[in-house]
Each structure stands twice: as C-alpha cells, then as structure tokens.
Symmetry: C2
Subunit: 336 residues, 2 copies
C-alpha cells in the first residue's frame, strides 16, 4: 500500500532495507552543527560537530553536513548505503510537511529554505526536517523526561525561548507552523513594545541569556558582588546557588517571569508536565526558582516541572527518532 512518491524525491541510489540499518540526526544551530550516527534502536554510534559561526548559509551548512557524515562513516567504516534516512532540526519556523524552513532568527537569516529537498539531493536518502525545539520535545518524549507522558510542554531557555507542545502524543505545530513561539509572550515585567520578526521578544528580554546579562550589568557594582560585571547567565545562576545576594535577585526575577509564562501556558493547555531544557532551562537554580513561584499558585496550577533529561542532546536525539520514523516510511501518516 505504501507508495514511494509519498516520501518526496526517491533516493537516486538503490538501498536495501537489510543493509540500511543506520540513520543520521542533525542539530543545526546558530553557532554549532552537531551530527550523530545512530543504529536502528536509536543508540548513538558516533558523533561529529563543527562551528556554523560565519557559515550560516544553507548551502554551506549542507556542505558541512556532507563533511561530517563522511567523517562519521569513515570513523565507523560503514558505507553510505547503510544510512537509511536523515533528519535535521532547524533553529526557526519550519513547515514539517513540506520540509521548508520558513524563517530563522538573524543568526542564520534563512528564509524559505527547502532543507528537506536539499538533504535528499545531497545524501540520496529520505529526509525530514522540523523546528529544533519541536525535535527536542520529541527527544524528551521518546527517551527523556517526558517518556510515557503524552501531554507536556518542552521549554527551551537559552539565548532565545521557545516551546515544543505535545498534545495527545503529537506535536502541536499550529496552522502557520509557529506554535510555541512564547519568547514573545507578554507577562508582567516584560516589555510591551511590539517587536519585529528576528528581534528578541518581551519574555526573552527578561529570561533569555542576553536579558539576564543586561539586568546583571544594570545592577552590578564591584561592592555588591565579587563576580565579574561581564559574567554570563550560567555564571550568575551558579553564583546565586552559592548565596550571592545580587545574583539571587537576578535569578529570582528570571525565575518569576519564566514561571508566569509557564502559568499562562498551563491555563491554556492544562499540560501536566513542563520540561525545562536549553542551556539555562536545565540550570538547577532556575528550575528551583520557577518551582517556588508556581508553588504560590498551587491552588490553581497543577503540573510538574522537570529539567530536561537529555540536556544539550535533546534536539539531536529528537532528530534521530524523526530519522528512524522517516526510515520506516511512516512520515506521511504521522510526521511527529
């Protein structure tokens, strides 16, 4: 019953289901490209990474991926024919059906990039693409903090903030593929000024990495904290755990504001679990600060807050699971 056409372009070289027992997962970021070769059970066999700084053009990223995949195959002495599918997470709004990256932030500057088609042309295997935060949610759902939970929200908190929303076991992407872009949420304490696409949103201005650094710098003096004025958000949160009062102020404001965004999202969705990921989202100081604020409202909100189990690998693991589904040619029926 399955038709090859449903998968998009047919792989130009013949590959047999018997030998094709590996997949490639890719996490395309504004600073790094990370690849993993995984077996048919999703276990990572080998990894590769490279810097995308200054090389954000889609063709350049495809060339880097070629280099990385060749290296992975060489390292494992596997032929390209052993790879049955590839899946990539892109840092922007992505049409998972057509495989087109609609828009990324200014770091990459992509607009309407037919990434799936480019991957299929380059590697000659079925490919799939999705938004990176959605893939992180998929990773946590299959092999992380949300295993066995069919309704949850994955929150990526780093430079930017985004949500991957899973309802009834499926990613909710929205009619224009931008569902979960909560970095722009308007909560008390966030700027109300309208922002254009590509600019950081109101919530990101308080809870994102740059917003936290800016707040730290605006309040910092050498008399108030031994930590440098140029500290980054992780260093500030580390310092807060050690009892630094200024760092704790900054942490508590970030935690309160993030908790408000979670509360608002919960009111709409009633998700019983929020998984905090991203470089800042997994920080134990931030997770605790969020929990304290939500505890004040436990008469209303009933949800669990857990840090990501996969950490920096969440997107990559999600890409591997998407690639496995793609290899099984189930994409057309259940793309998430």
């Amino acid at each position: 019953m399955e038709q090859q056409g449903a998968m998009g372009p047919v792989a130009p070289h013949a590959y047999s289901q018997q030998s094709a027992s590996y997949v490639i997962g890719a996490d395309i970021g504004g600073t790094n490209l990370r690849l993993a070769l995984a077996d048919g059970a999703g276990r990572i066999v080998s990894r590769w990474s490279g810097s995308t700084v200054g090389a954000g053009d889609a063709q350049a990223v495809i060339r880097m991926m070629r280099e990385g995949v060749d290296q992975l195959l060489s390292d494992t002495t596997l032929p390209l024919e052993s790879v049955s599918a590839i899946a990539a997470g892109a840092p922007g709004i992505t049409n998972a059906e057509s495989g087109v990256v609609i828009a990324t932030s200014y770091l990459m500057g992509w607009r309407q990039v037919p990434l799936r088609q480019m991957l299929e042309s380059e590697f000659g295997v079925p490919a799939s693409v999705d938004n990176d935060v959605n893939l992180a949610a998929l990773g946590e759902h299959n092999a992380g903090a949300a295993e066995g939970v069919d309704d949850f929200v994955f929150l990526a908190v780093g430079t930017g903030i985004g949500a991957g929303i899973v309802i009834n076991g499926k990613l909710h992407r929205g009619t224009i593929w931008a569902a979960g872009e909560i970095g722009y949420m308007l909560v008390p304490g966030a700027s109300e000024a309208p922002v254009e696409p590509g600019q950081p949103g109101g919530l990101e201005g308080v809870v994102g990495g740059e917003g936290i650094k800016a707040l730290w710098q605006s309040r910092w003096s050498s008399a108030l904290s031994p930590l440098s004025r140029d500290a980054n958000a992780t260093q500030i949160f580390d310092r807060a755990l050690e009892g630094d009062p200024l760092a704790q102020q900054v942490l508590q404001l970030a935690g309160r504001t993030l908790a408000y965004a979670i509360y608002n999202t919960w009111l709409i969705l009633n998700s019983p679990l929020f998984v905090l990921g991203g470089s800042l989202g997994v920080h134990p100081a931030l997770v605790d600060a969020v929990r304290v604020v939500l505890e004040e409202r436990r008469g209303r909100i009933q949800t669990n807050i857990l840090p990501s189990a996969l950490g920096a690998d969440a997107q990559l693991v999600g890409a591997i699971f998407l690639a496995l589904r793609t290899a099984n040619r189930k994409l057309a029926q259940a793309v998430d």
Copy 2:
C-alpha cells in the same frame, strides 16, 4: 457493534429511534437557566427560561429543568418519548467523559456534581454535559462564526473570562478538564497576586464586567462624563462609541489587556481565528479596540478576530449539537 452500555445508564423506558426526533439543550448559568427544544436538524422549536438566582443547588436546578421541559413539551404538544437526548452546559470545570461538574464559581458553589447521571435519572434519556464555554465554542463551530474552521479559540467575556479551544476540529479540554481558564492569565497591567479558586482572576480584574466598572468608578467624576458613576460595562462601551473620552480610556485599557491575552494564546496555539463572545465580548467597541492593538503586532500575529455569530445563544446552540450527537450514540467515540 454499538453497545448500550457505552452510553452509561440505559434509559429506563423504551424509546424508539423513529419517534425520538427531538433533543433538549440546556444552558445553566449563575443567574438564568435557559432551555431549548430542537428538531433533528438542530433547529430550535421552542424555548424556556427561568431564574437560578438563589436556587443554585444542583437538585433545585434539575427540578427547574423538569418544569421547563414539561412546559416545552406542553407548548409543542409533544410526548416525552419524542425527546431522544438532553445536553447541558455548566458554568464550571466539567469532566465531559464522566459527566461530573468538578467545580463552579462561588455563584453556584457546585463541587463534584454528577450532572449527567442526574439528568439521565430525571428524564430517562441519554444525557451529556460540558463546560458552558466549550459548548459555546461547539455552537460557533457548528452554526456560527467558526463554521468550517477547525482551529479556533472562542473567548467568552462577561463577568468572567474563559476560552473554548478547538484544535483539529476537537475541543481541547486538558488533562484536568480546566484548559482555557484564561481569566487568570498574567499579562502586563493585570494583578500578579495569587488568587484562590472561585475568586476572579487577574485578567478578569481588568477586562471582566466588574473590573471595568471598578476602573470606571475609580476615574469617574461628574465633570468628566455625563454617564452615571454606577454605569455597567456595556453602558460604558456604548458611551465610548459616542465619543466620551473617559469611557474611551476605560475601553482602550480593557481592549489592550484583552488583546494581550489573545496575543499570548496565539503564540502558544497559532489559532487562525478568535471568536469573541459573552455579553461584553460581542460589543463592537471592544472588538474594534482589540483589533487596533493586534494590528500594532501584525508582523507577528496572524489571526482573525470575529464577534460571535450566535451571541447569547452560543451555549444553548452548542448544547443542542451535543444532544444531537448524544442521540446518535456517538458520544463514546467523539465526545466533542
């Protein structure tokens, strides 16, 4: 293949599918109980209403419904056997699967009321219940402003504020049946104070009927407006349309705050349509004020704002469609 047991308690009297061509829809509110008798196509044949003020106890409401149904049948000279199902919307968090009203606001004070079972016992026909705002969304979806639109949010704005969320043609109710309780949303300008169940939420304090009256009174003086200090929200909005500057100030604050709640909800869901209902939500002055604020953010938000097409009948019409589904014994498969 269909089993009677799947419907819950079996009707104690025999009724034939041939003669049972009518249904009863009920809209239970804190001030009024409204009933409608409708034919198999959902057309209202006859209506009845009564006051629930001071008679909010569930048994008392059931007795009123009995009185109303008897009157409807007497008016139309139809026997009870011609009624094949009944459905009711309750003003609170409702488990549509078990048919239990979990909690209503202080106006009714219901807790864990087995409303579906009570209706089936009283009327001897299959019954269904749901939250009233969810039923209003169902009404707009079947015969109102959202006809043919499978992703939208219905916003009821009156004394309280709530949302009925439709995703892929189905109501999203949340794992504890409280999805869409956005009257508690935290937006700039709303109170951040935690509130207990039953108390008005932060958003309601600015955009709900009582919040609007309170703001009006706090700014009012006879020199500033000829409208009475005791005006209600609808009168204030009417006056704003006539150019009264003080009324326009109050309208604009309410419109901005409601627009922020819509914007936040849109970021999460990407719904292409918001239908504004409830006694205040349908007011053209408020609809316009919301549109003006969202227009400032059109670089990001892409959605339509429409007033309810069914107005005060939205819940009742939704109850009729739910009753029709119940009559068709499809409840177990697709309860929304």
